[in-house]
Amino acid sequence: MSPRAAHPPVPAATDPALIRNFCIIAHIDHGKSTLADRMLQITGVVADRDMRAQYLDRMDIERERGITIKSQAVRMPWELGGTGYALNMIDTPGHVDFSYEVSRSLAACEGAILLVDAAQGIEAQTLANLYLALENDLEIIPVLNKIDLPAAEPEKYARELADLIGGSPDDVLRVSGKTGMGVEDLLDRVVERIPAPKGNADAPARAMIFDSVYDSYRGVVTYVRMVDGQLNPRERIQMMSTKATHEILEIGVSSPEPTPTKGLGVGEVGYLITGVKDVRQSKVGDTVTTLAKSATEPLAGYTEPLPMVFSGLYPIDGSDYPELREALDKLKLSDAALVYEPETSVALGFGFRCGFLGLLHLEIVTERLRREFDLDIIATAPSVVYEVTTEDKKSVTVTNPSEFPTGGKIAEVREPIVKAAILAPKDYVGTIMELCQSRRGTLLGMEYLGEDRVEIRYNMPLGEIVFDFFDNLKSKTAGYASLDYEPAGDQAADLVKVDILLQGEQVDAFSAIVHRDKAYAYGVLMTGRLRELIPRQQFEVPIQAAIGARIIARESIRAIRKDVLAKCYGGDITRKRKLLEKQKEGKKRMKMVGRVEVPQEAFIAALSGETEKKDAKK
């Protein structure tokens, strides 16, 4: 119990006027989790001795990367002017891949703390989420964090924030999540400034799902924000999008451990457990109502998660395929956005074509497969969704280059485009514009933020961004630039499929859909990589890049001329035989492309760009 809240409101019986629902908008590394930890400590919901750094970020990967993937909500008591309040802090994912989840978290709040590192200023990601928050009419509390750092420039960035959201630089609070300095004032400010939630206690129950988390012991834990009415234990509920009904086995609030309550009323934030085992049965953005007294209108804003980026995932050891399937089936339970179907590749064997919200989502899934399921996997180059119209007016949706219609019958190819916002110190404007132009970007506008930082906005093909844009942007700006993007429809583009052929045989994993102007560069890159990586064969192996039947780049691997062991006398025979047996064993791991034997590692290295010199000996 907090020393500052002697009489905290009780869940299920809290006057909405005493509730404050808020989230923290911050860039990765700007200290959101540390600040949240400090709030938990100061409000007394986590005893000092139980405090572990970044309490709310539970997954290892989150902790390591300092980013929050899955949000949660914590109820904290706070007292101001002799009145006890219930503060619900809703933790939001910070990355663009999860912008839909972010938008639902924001919709669950009335206010947001805009948290900015006092040494770095605001980043593109934060700006994007700030726009979302303002769109949702949230009250914004600007805060500079890390003011204890020697490099902090609070005056400068307070002005930047004031310029951005209006008001005076003096309104910008200054805190240190690390030392706790200013955090009590911030909690007071939350109570004072953020409006209380409004809702109709007598109307049919409507609660918005803002998160849905799979727990291997308890099944799916659904986080909701009550809007109207009340939800109670043992009640039958209905999901308004699917009409599926479940019974509430447990209802409660997190503070921060799950604590069962007698129910949840208007404006409250808490969790439901119904015993379902798959997060798809409890979808973020959906409206929960009761079966007995159903609401007629769902809450606005629900959409199905739409995969934007596709990649083939293959086990490096082909015999792990069943394990990979099982692992994906399990991940799916906790990741509503992950989609996949079996796929076969000449080069990589059996695997799955997977759809992701974005590149980070892809990275998180592959990392979880490695870490939680101990699987060695390789991901093919990410691809986006193309709409291809053939001359006979058929429309084909292409998520994999192999689906790209062949022959000359293509009337039009449409590719997804995004609005990208890049924030960087002004010195890098030229470099960034050059990069964006080279990736077929169209400049939308440019604005100065404060004295020395610029926001540059571009329309760009998503396909260009998923290739290696972000890595390039970071390396060309010494890490200073930050990027955010949002879907902005599609456009027709002169796109072609480039195939890579080994001795005339197509190697599917290397086919790519690229702009015609980039086709040659891609062909040269991939043929060059493969020439370095594929061991010499007994015959010359041409490596070609082709658009349809037209060869655009060519390399060749010269035939091996000598592989005989010069000496084979009495003492050599046993070792020689063992070596032969080992080669036989090794051959099982070889992939055959026509007559060409290619070690799986060569394909993997070529895909990942790790071009090491091949071992000349077999």
């Binding site: 091996i560 001329r561 000598k562 062991l565 025979i573 035989r577 032969l580 000349a616």
Partner: protein, 411 residues
């Protein structure tokens, strides 16, 4: 070849062989190999089981002949007790190391032990390896008088900078002298060459081949340099002090050797060996490739009798200790099953001109023949006549040929 020895069964202390090893021994030739594990200096490329005087840990060169003689007697007893028929040695080969670091009298004494234990067959081939700077005319005469018929000189190259890169100490000018002395003593002569040494050019190699041909030896061996892990040469290459041998250059060098030796009247009979005629092929080495029996005497020596292979303790001190305690010096042994013997047969016979009978191959191997002909790896005419003989291209890619022939046998 580098690398640890394979995991194998422990060798029995009494050295006795299973009946399967000796039942049809009478159909196989029997040879004796004596490994003399001493060198004056260790050459940078060498990973053989050999020791300079500083590395002997109490083992003494002068005791070696007696120890080897003791193993020869042990060999006779084991073969007899295992039910092998009496077979005189049809070949004896002294290798190393540098056998001629020992006095000629020691070598002759060891040969005498073989004669006493097994007998030496009429017309047997008795060879010793020698460094050009480790023998003189007297040594060679004494060896010939003692029963040796052949000497194989480790010439390696006729080009000083190549010899230096190999750490070879002899003066190239000594080669004609020692060959002349061997001839005078009535010995057949083989010259050994190494190609592909870092820094060696095709022109250097041509010089060495010309020097060899000028000496008119009966037999020539030419080995591509193998960079073995753990050798000084491997370290020098890793540190970038010497260039990695280039396989394409080595292929060019092999082809040049085959051209020049062929033009000079030598004919290949094994991938790395050429002789003036069938009578001058190394019968001892052919025994290895034909799957004959041999007993390897000395530290680290390998033996084979009827599908059983074993190898001795490597260090001369450990070797001597075991013999002195009356137990077999062998420390590892493997008894090959039928499939493994077949693998070895194809792997070895493919290397020699005699080749592999097509009819002896497993169905999978026979199936591979057409492809080998099409790829120019085996000679079409002899294949049609029922025998697989490698073309020159096939000799350079012999390991690939073996893999293709064995694809279905091993699986």
């Amino acid at each position: 070849m580098a690398g640890p020895l394979p995991i194998a069964d422990p060798a029995p202390a009494d050295g006795l062989l299973p009946a399967s090893a000796t039942t049809d021994a009478a159909s196989r030739a029997f040879g004796v190999y004596l490994h003399v594990p001493f060198c004056r200096v260790r050459c940078g490329y060498c990973d053989f089981n050999t020791y300079t005087s500083g590395e002997l840990r109490g083992a003494r060169q002068e005791d070696f002949a007696d120890q080897a003689a003791a193993e020869v007697r042990f060999a006779r007893d084991v073969l007899e007790a295992s039910g092998a028929p009496d077979r005189a040695a049809s070949t004896v080969f002294f290798g190393g190391g540098t056998p001629t670091l020992l006095p000629a009298a020691d070598l002759v004494r060891m040969l005498g032990a073989v004669r006493d234990a097994f007998g030496i067959a009429e017309g047997a081939e008795v060879t010793t390896e020698a460094n050009p700077d480790s023998v003189d005319a007297d040594d060679l005469r004494r060896l010939a008088d003692g029963g040796f018929t052949r000497v194989s000189f480790g010439m390696q190259s006729a080009v000083p900078h190549v010899l230096a890169a190999l750490d070879r100490t002899h003066d190239p000018a000594r080669v004609p002298l020692v060959v002349g002395w061997a001839r005078e003593a009535g010995l057949d002569v083989s010259l050994d060459l190494i190609y592909g040494t870092p820094g060696e050019t095709l022109a250097d190699w041509r010089t060495s081949l010309a020097a060899v041909i000028a000496e008119r030896p009966d037999h020539v061996s030419a080995y591509a340099l193998i960079v073995e892990d753990g050798t000084k040469l491997a370290r020098q290459i890793r540190r970038g002090e010497l260039a990695t041998p280039d396989e394409d250059l080595e292929a060019d060098m092999y082809e040049l050797a085959d051209d020049l030796l062929g033009r000079a009247g030598y004919e290949w009979y094994e991938v790395s060996n050429w002789a003036t005629d069938a009578a001058h092929r190394s019968r001892h080495n052919l025994g290895y490739w034909r799957g004959d029996d041999w007993w390897g005497v000395g530290p680290g020596a390998h033996s084979h009798v009827g599908g059983v292979r074993w190898w001795n303790a490597k260090h001369p001190a450990a070797y001597a200790e075991r013999l002195a305690s009356g137990i077999s010096p062998a420390v590892g042994r493997e008894t090959l099953d039928h499939a493994t013997r077949e693998t070895e047969r194809v792997l070895l016979a493919t290397r020699i001109r005699e080749g592999v009978e097509v009819s002896s191959l497993h169905a999978g191997g026979r199936h591979a023949v057409a492809g080998l002909i099409a790829d120019g790896l085996v000679d079409a005419r002899t294949a049609l006549a029922g025998k697989l003989t490698l073309t020159r291209r096939g000799r350079l890619l012999a390991d690939a040929v073996v893999r293709r022939l064995l694809e279905t046998v091993i699986e």
